[in-house]
Symmetry: D2
Amino acid sequence: MVCQYGEQLEKLVKEVQPFTANGKVADYIPALAKANQDTLAVSIYDGNSTCFSAGHSSEMFTLQSISKVLTLALALMDHGEEIVFDKVGMEPTGDPYNSIAKLESLVAKPLNPMINAGALAVSHLIEGESTDERLERLLQLIRDMCGRPSVTYNREVAQSEFNTAHLNRSLAFFMKQYRIINEDVDQLLDFYTKQCAIEVNCDDLARIGYVLANKGRNEEGVEIVPFEIARLVKTFMVTCGMYNSSGEFAIRVGIPAKSGVSGGIVGAVPNEIGIGIYGPALDEKGNSVAGMKLLEAISSYYDLSIF
Amino acid sequence: MVCQYGEQLEKLVKEVQPFTANGKVADYIPALAKANQDTLAVSIYDGNSTCFSAGHSSEMFTLQSISKVLTLALALMDHGEEIVFDKVGMEPTGDPYNSIAKLESLVAKPLNPMINAGALAVSHLIEGESTDERLERLLQLIRDMCGRPSVTYNREVAQSEFNTAHLNRSLAFFMKQYRIINEDVDQLLDFYTKQCAIEVNCDDLARIGYVLANKGRNEEGVEIVPFEIARLVKTFMVTCGMYNSSGEFAIRVGIPAKSGVSGGIVGAVPNEIGIGIYGPALDEKGNSVAGMKLLEAISSYYDLSIF
Amino acid sequence: MVCQYGEQLEKLVKEVQPFTANGKVADYIPALAKANQDTLAVSIYDGNSTCFSAGHSSEMFTLQSISKVLTLALALMDHGEEIVFDKVGMEPTGDPYNSIAKLESLVAKPLNPMINAGALAVSHLIEGESTDERLERLLQLIRDMCGRPSVTYNREVAQSEFNTAHLNRSLAFFMKQYRIINEDVDQLLDFYTKQCAIEVNCDDLARIGYVLANKGRNEEGVEIVPFEIARLVKTFMVTCGMYNSSGEFAIRVGIPAKSGVSGGIVGAVPNEIGIGIYGPALDEKGNSVAGMKLLEAISSYYDLSIF
Amino acid sequence: MVCQYGEQLEKLVKEVQPFTANGKVADYIPALAKANQDTLAVSIYDGNSTCFSAGHSSEMFTLQSISKVLTLALALMDHGEEIVFDKVGMEPTGDPYNSIAKLESLVAKPLNPMINAGALAVSHLIEGESTDERLERLLQLIRDMCGRPSVTYNREVAQSEFNTAHLNRSLAFFMKQYRIINEDVDQLLDFYTKQCAIEVNCDDLARIGYVLANKGRNEEGVEIVPFEIARLVKTFMVTCGMYNSSGEFAIRVGIPAKSGVSGGIVGAVPNEIGIGIYGPALDEKGNSVAGMKLLEAISSYYDLSIF
């Protein structure tokens, strides 16, 4: 098991550390801009033990787009596949094989739940009488997955994101026009920006990844997420979890993973381990530069690719 | 092993057989239109034995788009990743996560090697002094993979496709304008349509899938395709192997696979088995309706999903 | 002069009347849906006399998109060409002559002031301390043009449009993201929906058209709109005044004109006459079916095409 | 009349001459690259006299895209509006007023006859048993318009363009796939590149513009092009004659005009004069920089805008 060789993991982190210099910390809101460019941390969980590789592993960061896989799981638990995939597609691309150019369809249905439009449509489906109740239900799922009852969200980040979410409002109103969503847009944005602002550390992510890897069950065998949903979520992590680097990432790393602009990445090696990574310096596509390199090194050394 | 339970496989085929009525045989050229709507065949190869499930398994059909994975492997063997992925992308989609609509870039580089434009760019890279020599090199690779030295192409199909390939010519001239390809377009189309017209049966496909599944080696351990290339090819089969149903197929089936409009599908379960399927009745996206259902049933019964 | 032959005009209206049956009254808000499908009215103003052709000419209707030409004039009077065309383009199309497909640029600048995005960007530029003040300034311009001091807006229509303007909000937030607009979106929408709800009759439109036709001056020679701005506005009326029927309308009719989904059309024959038309039954592109036919008949009979 | 003030015209040319330094001579084929960057010539024809303004007016250049208006006229004379506009649209843009982004429709019909795809579809309609006969028919129309029986095409330019017309071949095969055209693509390209290579001088263009301006008749009143077709052609010159600068050109100049990448521009002021301009230094959209400036100066000084 990976955790038996913590020294090797430490060595891989050191090798990859210089890549933190290549990226750029997200700065579209002040709270994210405060992150330390040099940080690189990883945590791996195999159901028995957790192995940390670096001193930064207790640092907290926000989920951002990583939350998309968790709301997707919750929406599927709330409504089932039919209703969820009536609102959002399953495809990394909507292009037929012979299109001479990419096609914008007038159909407003988002392509998949990992792009912002799709994630908004999925969040719209989360049940609850109020934003608080919906958020509480999502937090409960996350607390169950990482076994840390104190998980909550960062109010400052949520507020900043809410204030600057013009593009997400544009997407939401567009979908409201075409009845993909039919709630108040500001209410949806309130929930969405809070979900993105949920704070975790690498250990939390490793345990979340472990539940997804372990057929939806925690280390005690308790089902947190149904088996079919855990599998489905991992599929989206492969086909579109790393923004528009997903194809290359699948080739280079081959581990179902989802990144966020805070610099976090959650990985789930089916039937084996969960991985949490934090490295806030991003490439231009929004993925942690050193984080991806580290996952590539880990996958290669421990032969973790699913392909 | 799957082949020990041939009766179960037979049973799955029978269950799925009615779905052959739902699709439509491709009819854009006469040679394809002659296919029998009801046909459904499967062959599975585990490196020791081959199990057939249905009486149609000796029927020959053309590779069509299945050839895209094989030319990709050969182009990578000829040139390496850097040169190949300078001509063609690695992504199932080129959309950044926050695009409000799909983007056509002026850059003519095809998104990936599984769409026609990408496959044409890859075929352009296959080395050889003449079309005959390039085709012979591809045929040799395929013969090595399926262990049948008599594999060749169907002249009638190739000629028909060559005569009607207006859209592929359009794509090729577009890429010639932007210097993605720089050979004579009719010469490239000649090679491309011949590669698509290579004839196989289900057994051949199962053995091709086995080599891809088995780290590029045949049952005797001889390397036919380097390990890294076999892995890379399987990755593209998951992210874009089933046209624009790839996302849903990954969720429902979870097996790296590539389909063609002849109705063939090749599947490769990493480190386990190769699968060949033939069912010419297609859905509107160009995939065998009953073939996909059969793969779903097989994946579910034998628990073959990689996710 | 056209007004000397009122009987002929009456005859043309009768000939065209049956076309009112072909269209469909806009029904996306209740206030518009109340319009009478059969209505067809025209008013022509030559600076001396006004000739009405039909009994419906006193009916009031809202400007809707016709307001786009008036806010454009006001924004140009407020800021000049440089600032206005920094926010919005001048082209009916943004496609280079050799594009193989239409291109969505990441640049958020709207193509021209006659599409909704462009009109929102133009409205954003209208000066005024408050929505009331901006609206009052626009109303004053319109009152000056049509010489009717009682022109105001319909509160019910404005309110309905405000409540359902999801798509316009989507456009506005998209432009806010890219800093094309930087005011509160709901404030802009409040102004925009009120401007669209300004009520006129055919006589008003004929006089508005006359001012545009008469180099920006009213019948007494008083400059209401500077000459260059009146010319510029007429240019946009030709290249994109009739939604995406502008090209065909220029061929068939050849009169600078702007339509609205209420069924109104304003026409301006340079140096000759202004035309106001009302016919609420629309074609699928949003233009008055009978209104366009009537303009075609008038243009042909009186030889008014500018081409 | 303009020609009474030749000195003034000379003065305008001198004022505009420095703008020749701003553009760039087309160099995609050697024959065009040979053009002299400094050249600026204009010729104006009023039906009685021709006034030249500059010493370069005898220089020959190829029509290039200017030929699009002439093949359009001939195709309409051959087939009438219904058949021509079944193959090609009438609109400068195909976007509905509320599209959030530009739309590529699967319908392959080109938007209008002034883009390359549309011009290819129009050329396809020109009648004739052979390329020679079609070309001869087009040349005869042009000879009739400019009253110079020796008009012919430049073989070197035609051959160069034929050899490098990858993008036009791409467009043609795309339209062949969708049955917009159904002749041999190389045969169509042979005709198309020859039509683009027809050689004229400024005087010729001025006389061609005069016929279009003068309701399709030459100075002796002989109908060369039917009235309706001459009007229709001028309409397209306004809405899409200057590539994607047409909107701005209509605002700044207001004269129906069509440019080509050789640096030629033909102008037609309805019921007044024809204008021929040659200035090979182009802006990045493919229009003669100094040529457009000169037309703006002429339009302004002689008050020629149709708006």
